[in-house]
């Protein structure tokens, strides 16, 4: 039997912080009903100290009741004083474990341990413990680990350059931030002239106002631009420190990922519990043939601020066949592709958006001619991302599709401005949906959506598929509702 680290007493004590309500009530009571409330409050300070003592005492008792145990087949955690909560996690069902020793816990020798199974629907952690080194070693002995003798050779270790690029691309929307900053930096100057003139036209009265207001616009614009750049840079630095010193090892059953410069995290992932591998790209990465390999596995990258990344930016052509053992397939051509004739499914909304921006400037200019220049400026600034979106969706049309390779299915699709190549075992598919509107019915096309197993239910949608091919895909996967769209 083992216990959690004594630091946990503080965490348990924090849960009883509500007890401070008693000193608070006492304070309010003396304030309202006694003129000498301050004197009375101080006189009764022993009560406040007693409450604080009780909080710490409950924390200590709670810690004494929190125990870690093992049987031959499971990890047991017992918690609670009155309500005894005993959690039993069989080792065979553990999908991933995480150990972390942040720099502020290092002097105390405390390690955070998290254990996850495939149970549940949200990205919740199934068991969270704070343990000392000895307990950690005992737990880790029983957890999945990479066998040094059966290690798969040739797993590409991320280089400093790939971590740098990954941090650039995945720090709070790189392109979006750069665009917004440009909008405010460059736009600020232009907007200053245009808005000054527009407002000056209205009346001489407002001209006075303009003097006061408009002079501040460039400063505000610069500040906003600086804010976006600074926030991106901060996010970039955080990512650099978070994913720096990235290393990956694996055998046929288990994968060990360690990363972090200040806060080292170690993940052990059971390969058979990986739901799918997702090769993510944005347009720039797509043009250069680079990918970021992510995986979906319970517990890996589960916290909000973490990405489930396995291989930060890598050239797709460099992903060798030896990576197929861990579910990374590349260079497999689509067996069934999106139909170029179904261009409307991909480009209708982006084209409509892009084509409505300029006319809307015309309408604004006609209704408010004094603001014509200003609306032109705003329209141009909005037109740029709209055109970018058209290019993204056009590339998506050319690359989307479905491929099969042995027992694996490979789905290529795009969501917003991101491209996905999802690789999974066919048995991991939990839902297949076919969507067909009247126009698609006439042209014998449909959209195919696939969901995979996992705590996070994500949809991967391939639009503009030939109905007969969608039917064939469904049959291959063991679903027989494809004929409804193929009749």
């Amino acid at each position: 039997m083992y216990r959690e680290h004594p630091l946990k007493i503080l965490k348990f004590s924090l849960k009883n912080i509500w007890m401070l309500i008693f000193p608070l009530i006492r304070g309010i009571y003396t304030y309202h009903f006694d003129k000498n409330w301050f004197y009375n409050w101080i006189k009764g300070a022993w009560f406040d100290i007693a409450v604080l003592g009780a909080i710490l005492f409950f924390g200590l008792i709670r810690w004494l009741f929190s125990k870690i145990d093992f049987t031959q087949t499971e990890l047991i955690h017992r918690d609670g004083i009155f309500f005894r909560v005993n959690t039993y996690i069989p080792f065979r069902n553990v999908s991933s474990i995480t150990t972390e020793m942040p720099f502020y816990l290092a002097p105390f020798g405390a390690t955070r341990f998290r254990c996850d199974t495939r149970a549940g629907i949200f990205k919740t952690v199934d068991m969270k413990l704070l343990v000392n080194q000895k307990t950690k070693e005992q737990i880790m002995l029983r957890m999945p680990n990479v066998d040094e003798e059966q290690k798969i050779n040739g797993i590409p270790q991320p280089t400093a350059a790939s971590i740098l690029l990954f941090s650039v691309f995945f720090s709070s929307g790189f392109s979006g931030t750069v665009y917004l900053a440009t909008f405010f930096f460059k736009g600020g100057d232009i907007a200053y002239d245009i808005i000054s003139r527009s407002l000056n036209i209205i009346t001489t009265e407002t001209a006075k106002l303009t003097e006061k207001l408009v002079l501040k616009i460039p400063t505000a614009a610069i500040l906003l631009g600086m804010f976006f750049i600074a926030s991106w840079f901060l996010s970039f630095m955080v990512n650099l420190f978070r994913y720096g010193r990235f290393s990956i090892d694996c055998d046929r059953h288990c994968m060990k990922v360690i990363y972090g410069i200040l806060d080292r995290k170690e993940y052990r992932i059971k390969n058979s519990h990986i739901n799918y591998t997702d090769l993510r790209q944005n347009l720039i990465m797509k043009l250069f043939g680079a990918v970021a390999v992510n995986i979906s596995c319970a517990g890996y990258g589960a916290s909000q601020s973490r990405l489930p990344v396995l291989l930060p930016v890598k050239m797709e052509k460099n992903l060798g066949k030896n990576l197929q053992a861990i579910g990374i397939y590349s260079g497999v051509r689509n067996s069934f592709s999106a139909q170029p004739a179904g261009i409307g499914s991909y480009l209708l909304i982006p084209l409509l958006t892009a084509s409505l921006i300029i006319p809307s400037h015309d309408w604004v200019a006609r209704i408010f001619p004094r603001f014509a220049e200003l609306s032109l400026f705003v329209a141009v600034m909005f037109e740029i991302p709209a055109v970018w979106f058209i290019i993204v969706k056009f590339v998506a049309l050319l690359t989307s599709g479905v491929a099969f390779s042995g027992s694996k299915i490979i789905v290529r699709c795009s969501t917003w401005t991101r491209f996905h190549t999802v690789v999974s075992d066919q048995s991991n598919i939990v839902k297949v949906e076919l969507e067909q509107n009247l126009l698609q019915k006439l042209s014998k096309r449909c959209a195919l959506s696939i969901w995979f197993e996992g705590e996070e239910h994500r949809r991967f949608k391939v639009k503009a598929m030939k109905a007969s091919e969608a039917d064939e895909i469904c049959r291959k996967l063991g679903y027989y509702h494809g004929k409804a769209v193929n009749s």
Partner: protein
């Protein structure tokens, strides 16, 4: 196929807890609120609410709960206003949490939560012997001499 129902002792325990909680709240109200009418209305409201829960809702709720365990799955049916039927296969159980209190053989506070793909199933207010039997049937916790390690 075996049927299990909640431990009726738990109903008595819950009634005692609710009565104690209501008396405590009434005492606090009388102590902190100086307005007699407000105290009176709040007291009447609390007593009525407690009586409704203790003598109407809880007996109905307890009567509605039924667990049916077979060789491969466990089915839970419950609900006073809306009936809920939930079935899980033992093979889909990923891990288990057992909650009990001291003297749970007298209070009936024995709960089992089975965590499965996509959710969980909560078996509430079980007799201690029933809880042990369900755990044994599910095979989700390793047993030592016919008993799970408590």
């Amino acid at each position: 196929m075996k049927h299990y129902v909640p431990d009726r002792k738990c109903l008595t325990t819950l009634r005692i807890i609710i009565t104690a909680a209501v008396l405590l709240v009434i005492a606090a109200i009388r102590y902190f609120i100086p307005f007699e009418k407000t105290v009176f209305f709040l007291t009447v409201f609390l007593i009525c609410a407690a009586c409704f829960v203790m003598f109407l809702y809880l007996p109905k709720f307890f009567a509605s709960i039924k667990y049916t365990a077979s060789e491969t799955e466990i089915i839970k049916s419950s609900g006073v206003f809306i009936k809920l039927y939930q079935s899980i296969k033992y093979s889909s159980i990923q891990y288990t949490t057992v909650i009990n209190t001291p003297l749970s053989q007298y209070t009936g506070f024995n709960f089992i939560i089975f965590f499965v793909y996509g959710g969980q199933q909560r078996l509430l207010f079980l007799k201690q012997s029933d809880a042990e039997e369900i755990i044994r049937l599910s095979g989700s916790i390793s047993m030592k001499e016919g008993k799970y390690v408590p």
